[in-house]
């Protein structure tokens, strides 16, 4: 079985400490990104778009911006950054020489990836409030949900990291999986204008679809039964990828 104790926090803390050491660079993207997207897409392109399903365009894309930011930060943290720590810096090797188990190293990395997603969502929230594109107080839920969504993307990322032969090969999931999701998960236009098979595909296989769906319910403060499906899909997938990532990593590292 999976061997995780409270020692997992020492792995998480290592990454938190490293993050704080370079906090200036780390804190810039979550402030700049939503401003750029809202100005260019929301208020630029958005002037040609009356409304989407009766929602002003900037309000429509605001939850997608949070979702994308959570996806990117958690996914890239647990692919490229984790790979660097594992392969080039030998940080994992150093940690498993201590009483911390390999399972805890991988779990700590994923929990950190999720935290990073949550930090980004937290920092974006005031910017979105300033633009008046999210409803309060329901939008406070963006923060805890970002942790869950972040954990999902961290788990998926860690599975790729466990099987990738080299850091360059991580470009495949980035371009073939993450980029299409960024565009086709109900982010910048509603899913239902796509052909039906693609809609089903998006719901079945693109995690971001569910994250955007749920975040949109949060920022609009309009919940519907479909959001329960979103939440269930995310919860189940998170558990699966979390466990799978640890197993794949054990196979890679325990030799």
């Amino acid at each position: 079985m999976i061997d995780i104790t409270t020692r997992v926090q020492s792995v998480w803390r290592r990454n938190w400490d490293a993050f704080l050491r370079t906090y200036r660079v780390n804190f810039i993207p979550p402030f700049i990104e939503p401003v750029l997207y809202l100005l260019a897409l929301g208020f630029g392109l958005g002037t040609y778009i009356e409304a989407v399903d009766g929602i002003p365009y900037p309000v429509f894309i605001a939850p997608a911006l949070v979702s994308i930011s959570v996806m990117y930060s958690a996914f890239f943290e647990c692919t490229y950054s984790s790979f660097v720590r594992m392969y080039y810096q030998k940080t994992f090797d150093a940690i498993i020489a201590t009483p911390v188990a390999i399972d805890e190293v991988i779990a700590g990395e994923m929990l950190w990836g999720a935290t990073r997603g949550m930090i980004y969502a937290t920092l974006m929230l005031p910017v979105l409030l300033l633009f008046g594109v999210v409803a309060m107080p329901s939008s406070l839920l963006l923060i805890p949900f970002a942790f869950l969504a972040g954990l999902l993307f961290a788990g998926i990322a860690m599975c790729f990291t466990a099987i990738t032969p080299s850091i360059d090969a991580l470009n495949y999931p980035s371009f073939l999986f993450i980029t299409p999701m960024f565009l086709f998960s109900g982010t910048f236009f509603p899913l239902d204008i796509l052909p039906e098979p693609i809609q089903y595909f998006a719901l079945a296989a693109l995690p971001l679809t569910h994250v955007v769906g749920f975040n949109r319910a949060i920022t609009l403060a309009t919940f519907s039964p479909i959001n329960l499906l979103n939440l269930a899909w995310i919860a189940v997938a998170t558990v699966i990828f979390f466990v799978l990532a640890i197993r794949l990593m054990r196979r890679r590292l325990v030799v």
Partner: protein
């Protein structure tokens, strides 16, 4: 080594560290071990001092306790001035010293070192040897692997020579030298006359390329004989036998007659 460290699964047989099974007591064993890996795996995101603090956290050592210990270890390893320097800015010798300091952060009962001075310049090697001898003098148990036989000769109380995963011999370096090489070695250039004379005297000798080595406890007599044979035309050297001689004799490569 990795099986002792509970990092690699046991390939067979039984293995106990501190009387505990490596399959079932990994955390307990690892919490009493200090490991100095061959490859540098210090954390490049942090300074020398914080490397020690963060490493101690993996052992669950309380912060207040470790701050004191970290300072002592930096002093012991002569790294106080590098306390706040990032790892990339340290020299190879400093990194090795810091890795040793890091391995001591949990006050281990057993320190495992894998090639501790590989790739270092002579000054850096001597400093590390000095520190390891200090640790030994304080009563610490050190297990080290090395290909540098002068290192093994200087540091080890008990030595195991392995070849292709099999133990060939074990004992103190001095005993091994006496037993497998004798006290001294007389070296001379290989010529037919020398070989003929050695056969005549019924002395054992080894061929190491175009050098003849005679392992003997009577080096001066042998040297005298050989100097006469060569008529002082070739150099005859007498030197004490070393572990390197033992190693080469045991692992082959030389003709024994």
């Amino acid at each position: 080594m990795k099986m002792i460290q509970c990092i690699s699964p046991k390939s067979g047989g039984t293995l106990e560290v501190f009387g505990m099974d490596v399959d079932t007591h990994q955390r307990q064993i690892k919490s009493h071990l200090g490991v100095v890996p061959q490859e540098n795996n210090l954390d490049p995101d942090f300074s020398a001092y914080r490397n020690l603090l963060i490493y101690a956290r993996y052992f669950g050592i309380p912060k207040r306790q470790v701050e004191k210990r970290a300072k002592e270890l930096l002093t012991f390893m002569q790294l106080e001035e590098k306390r706040d320097v990032l790892i990339d800015k340290l020299s190879g010798g400093m990194k090795r010293r810091l890795i040793i300091a890091r391995a001591l952060v949990n006050e281990p009962e057993l320190l495992i070192l894998d090639e501790p001075t590989i790739g270092l310049d002579p000054q850096a090697r001597h400093l590390i040897w000095e520190k390891l001898r200090n640790l030994r003098a304080e009563g610490n148990t050190l297990v080290l692997t090395t290909h540098y036989l002068d290192e093994a000769e200087r540091l080890c109380d008990r030595l195991v020579i392995m070849d292709h995963g099999k133990i060939l011999v074990q004992g103190t370096p001095a005993d091994l030298i006496r037993e497998h090489a004798g006290n001294d070695v007389v070296e001379v250039e290989r010529t037919e006359k020398v070989v003929a004379r050695l056969e005549e005297l019924r002395l054992n000798y080894d061929l190491a390329g175009d050098i003849i080595q005679v392992f003997t406890n009577r080096p001066n007599d042998v040297a005298q004989e050989l100097l006469e044979v060569c008529r002082h035309e070739a150099a005859v050297t007498v030197r004490p036998a070393t572990l390197e001689d033992v190693f080469l004799r045991l692992t082959g490569r030389s003709l024994r007659e």
